[in-house]
C-alpha cells in the first residue's frame, strides 16, 4: 500500500532537516502506529505525504499503490486514496459542511473518471454515515468546523474519511483534545472503516488510543527516523517507561 524509502525532508525556508531517512512499509489492510517524542518528525511525515507546502524533499521516495506521491498535488494524492485526518481541523467560514463534502467527493470521482453523485444519492449516503458518528443535520449545515467543539471536529474528520473511502488513512494525533467518550466514538468510527483494502497509519502520543484502534505494528520515531518497530507491546512499553530506555538502546 504505502512504501516510504529513505525519505529526507527539510523546511523550505530554513536550513533545517526534519526527516532524516524514514523507511516505512505498510501492507494492504494493516494498521501501523507511530509514537515518538515531541519534535521527532511525526506530523511532518503526515504533511509531506499529503502534500502540504513548505517542505522540500531532499532524498528518498514515497509511493502509494505504486504511484509516486511526492510530485503530485494534494488533491491528486487524495484521489489516489490518501487521507489525512488533521490534528487541528481547519475552520472554513462561509463554506457549508455539506457543500464541502459533496464538492470533495465529486471532485475525487471526476479525477478518477467515475460518475459524480447526484444530490439525492449523496444525501442518502451522508445521512446514514453521519448517524453512526452522532453528527446531526445541524452540524452538516454549519460552515466547515466553525464553532465545532474539539470532539465534533474530530468526528467530522472521521465522517469525511467515511465519505471519501480512502485506501490509506493517516490519523495525526486524532486523540488530542478528546474526552474518553469522544475517543471511543471516534475509534469506533475508524474501526468500522477497517477492511482488507484499507490501511491506517495512526500517529499518537498515547497508548490509550491504541487500546481502541489495535495496531498490527508499532514504530518508534525519533530525530527524523524510525528507530524501533515491534508489535502492540512496544506501545505498552512506552506507556510504562517512556522513551528513555528505547533511545538509550539504539544510541
Amino acid at each position: 500500500m504505502l512504501d516510504i524509502k529513505n525519505l529526507h525532508v527539510k523546511l523550505e525556508d530554513e536550513d533545517k532537516q526534519i526527516l532524516k531517512g524514514v523507511d516505512l512499509k505498510i501492507g494492504a489492510g494493516e494498521v501501523h502506529a507511530i509514537m515518538g517524542p515531541n519534535g521527532s518528525g511525526k506530523s511532518t511525515l503526515s504533511y509531506v505525504l499529503s502534500g502540504r507546502a513548505g517542505y522540500e524533499v531532499t532524498d528518498g521516495t514515497a509511493t502509494l499503490l505504486g504511484n509516486d506521491l511526492l510530485d503530485l498535488e494534494p488533491e491528486e494524492r487524495a484521489a489516489l486514496g490518501l487521507f489525512l485526518a488533521f490534528q487541528y481541523p481547519v475552520e472554513i467560514p462561509g463554506v457549508g459542511n455539506m457543500t464541502f463534502l459533496r464538492t470533495a467527493v465529486n471532485s475525487q470521482r471526476k479525477m478518477r473518471g467515475e460518475d459524480e453523485l447526484s444530490a439525492g444519492e449523496f444525501l442518502k449516503i451522508i445521512r446514514e454515515k453521519a448517524k453512526t458518528l452522532k453528527i446531526d443535520a445541524e452540524m452538516l449545515k454549519r460552515p466547515v468546523n466553525v464553532g465545532f467543539s474539539g470532539g465534533e471536529k474530530k468526528r467530522n474528520e472521521i465522517l469525511q474519511m467515511a465519505m471519501l473511502e480512502p485506501k490509506m488513512c493517516i490519523l495525526d494525533e486524532t486523540d488530542s483534545g478528546l474526552d474518553v467518550d469522544a475517543m471511543k466514538l471516534v475509534s469506533e468510527g475508524v474501526n468500522a472503516l477497517r477492511s482488507e483494502g484499507r490501511s491506517f497509519l495512526v500517529i499518537t502520543h498515547y497508548q490509550r488510543l491504541l487500546d481502541h484502534i489495535k495496531p498490527d505494528v508499532v514504530h518508534i520515531m525519533a530525530n527524523g527516523r524510525m528507530i524501533k518497530s515491534g508489535g502492540p507491546e512496544l506501545a505498552l512499553e512506552v506507556e510504562n517507561n517512556g522513551y528513555a530506555d528505547i533511545l538509550a538502546e539504539v544510541a
Binding site: 499529503s50 502534500g51 502540504r52 507546502a53 498535488e73 494534494p74 488533491e75 494524492r77 487524495a78 484521489a79 487521507f83 489525512l84 488533521f86 481541523p89 481547519v90 472554513i92 467560514p93 462561509g94 463554506v95 457543500t99 464541502f100 463534502l101 464538492t103 470533495a104 467527493v105 471532485s107 475525487q108 479525477m111 460552515p143 466547515v144 469525511q160 471519501l164
Partner: protein, 398 residues
C-alpha cells in the same frame, strides 16, 4: 424641473468637475468619467439568461440610456404611481435635485450635480402601499459609444414597501442619480448588478433620506467594468430607522471598483450597516471610502462598517479609507477594513480532501463574498446573485 436643472448647473459650475488632486478622488482617476474625448467600449457577447429573469417583476427597459416603451411592461402596478422623468408629476418635480443637493455637503459630488443639470431620462416612482413585485430597471446597451445620464426619483410613502432592481451595462459611459425619499415606516429595498462589459465606465449616486422607523437596504454586485464609482449618501433623520448598504465586487485585470459611502446619523436609536467585499486579481484595483457621521444628539446610534478585500495575486491592489466622525456620547460604532490573501491553511485542507486547487479557491472566494450577498433579504434574488458570482468564477477556470 427646469429651475432645478438650472440650479444644479450653477452648483456644478461652482464646484467644478472632479480633478485628480481632489482628496475624494485620490484613488480613482476621474478622467475617464469627465473627458469629452470618450473612448468606445466593446459590447459583451453572452448567451446567458439575463439576471432576474426568473423573478416576477415589472420590467422597465432603457437602451443606451433611453426609455424603450416597446421592451418595457406597462407602467402600472397596484400601489405604485410610475412615469418617465419627462412626465414627472409635481411631487417628483419638487423632489428632483433636492436630495442630491443635500448630499453635496460636506463633500462635493460634481458628477451628481452634472447629472441633475443635464438628465432627460429616468423613471419616477411613488410607492403608496406594499408593492407585490419589484420594479426592475433593465439597462440594455447596443452602442459602443453611448454616453448616458439617468436620473430616477423615488418616494416610498408611509407604510409602503418597494423593491427596485437594476441591472445591465446601460452605456459605454453611464452617470446615474437615484434620489430615494423614504417616509416614516416606509421600506425601500434595492438590488443591482453593474454591467459586465469590460470597457464600460460608470459613476452612480444614490441619495437617500430616511424617516422614522423606515428601512433602506441596498446591495450591489460588480463583476467586470473598467471603472465603477458607486456613491451612496444617506441621511438618517427619523428615529429608529435602519440603513444597510452592501456590495460584492470581483475584478480581473483592467478593473477599478470604488465604493464611496457617506452615512449621516441625525436621529435617535438608528442602525446603519455597511458590508463591502472585493475580490481582486490580475492587477485589478478596489477602493473603499466609507464614512459614518454621527451628529450631536444622535444618541443610541448603532453604526457598523466593514470593508474587506481579498487579493488573489501581488499585482492587485486595494485602497481603503474608513472614517468615523462622532459627536454624540452614547453610541456604538465599529468598523474594520482588511486586505488579505487567500487562507493557505483552508486551501490545503480543501485540497487534501480532493478538491482541486481552482475549485478550492472559488469556494473560498464565494464564501468570502457571501457575507455581503447575505445582506439581500429576498432569498430568490440572493440566489440569483450567487449563481452569477459562481458563473463568473466558473468561466475563468482552466
Amino acid at each position: 424641473m427646469e429651475a432645478a436643472r438650472k440650479s444644479a448647473k450653477a452648483r456644478l459650475e461652482a464646484m467644478g468637475l472632479p480633478q485628480r488632486r481632489d482628496e475624494y478622488w485620490k484613488y480613482t482617476r476621474p478622467d475617464l468619467l469627465t473627458t469629452t474625448d470618450m473612448a468606445p467600449a466593446a459590447l459583451l457577447v453572452t448567451d446567458e439568461a439575463p439576471l432576474f429573469d426568473a423573478i416576477d417583476r415589472l420590467k422597465i427597459v432603457f437602451v443606451d440610456g433611453v426609455f424603450d416603451a416597446q421592451a418595457s411592461d406597462d407602467l402600472s402596478l397596484e400601489g405604485l404611481e410610475i412615469s418617465q422623468l419627462k412626465d414627472a408629476p409635481d411631487w417628483a418635480q419638487s423632489l428632483y435635485g433636492v436630495l442630491e443637493e443635500n448630499g453635496q455637503s460636506p463633500v462635493a459630488r460634481p458628477l451628481a450635480a452634472l447629472n441633475s443639470a443635464q438628465a432627460q431620462q429616468g423613471i419616477v416612482i411613488r410607492a403608496n402601499a406594499k408593492v407585490s413585485k419589484p420594479v426592475s430597471l433593465v439597462y440594455v446597451r447596443k452602442s459602443d459609444t453611448s454616453d448616458a445620464i439617468l436620473h430616477h426619483v423615488i418616494r416610498v410613502e408611509e407604510g409602503a414597501d418597494l423593491t427596485v432592481l437594476e441591472n445591465g451595462p446601460a452605456a459605454a459611459r453611464l452617470n446615474t442619480v437615484m434620489e430615494v425619499d423614504v417616509a416614516d415606516t416606509g421600506a425601500f429595498h434595492h438590488v443591482r448588478a453593474m454591467g459586465r462589459d469590460h470597457e464600460r465606465r460608470a459613476a452612480t449616486h444614490i441619495f437617500g433620506r430616511l424617516g422614522h422607523e423606515s428601512v433602506f437596504k441596498s446591495f450591489t454586485m460588480t463583476v467586470n467594468g473598467k471603472l465603477t464609482r458607486n456613491e451612496v449618501v444617506l441621511d438618517i433623520n427619523g428615529d429608529n430607522a435602519v440603513a444597510h448598504v452592501a456590495g460584492a465586487a470581483m475584478g480581473d485585470g483592467d478593473f477599478l471598483h470604488d465604493d464611496t459611502v457617506f452615512i449621516t446619523h441625525d436621529s435617535l436609536n438608528c442602525e446603519s450597516r455597511q458590508v463591502f467585499k472585493k475580490v481582486l486579481r490580475n492587477g485589478a484595483t478596489g477602493v473603499f471610502q466609507g464614512k459614518i457621521l454621527v451628529k450631536e444628539g444622535a444618541q443610541k446610534t448603532d453604526g457598523y462598517q466593514m470593508s474587506q478585500s481579498l487579493l488573489l495575486d501581488d499585482d492587485s491592489q486595494f485602497y481603503g479609507k474608513p472614517e468615523l466622525e462622532i459627536y454624540a456620547d452614547d453610541v456604538m460604532c465599529s468598523h474594520g477594513s482588511t486586505t488579505g490573501a487567500i487562507d493557505e491553511k483552508a486551501m490545503f485542507y480543501l485540497q487534501s480532501r480532493g478538491v482541486t486547487k481552482i475549485e478550492a479557491q472559488d469556494l473560498l472566494v464565494l464564501a468570502f463574498l457571501d457575507a455581503a450577498v447575505d445582506e439581500i433579504e429576498d432569498a430568490a434574488i440572493a440566489d440569483d446573485i450567487r449563481g452569477r458570482l459562481e458563473g463568473w468564477l466558473a468561466r475563468r477556470r482552466d
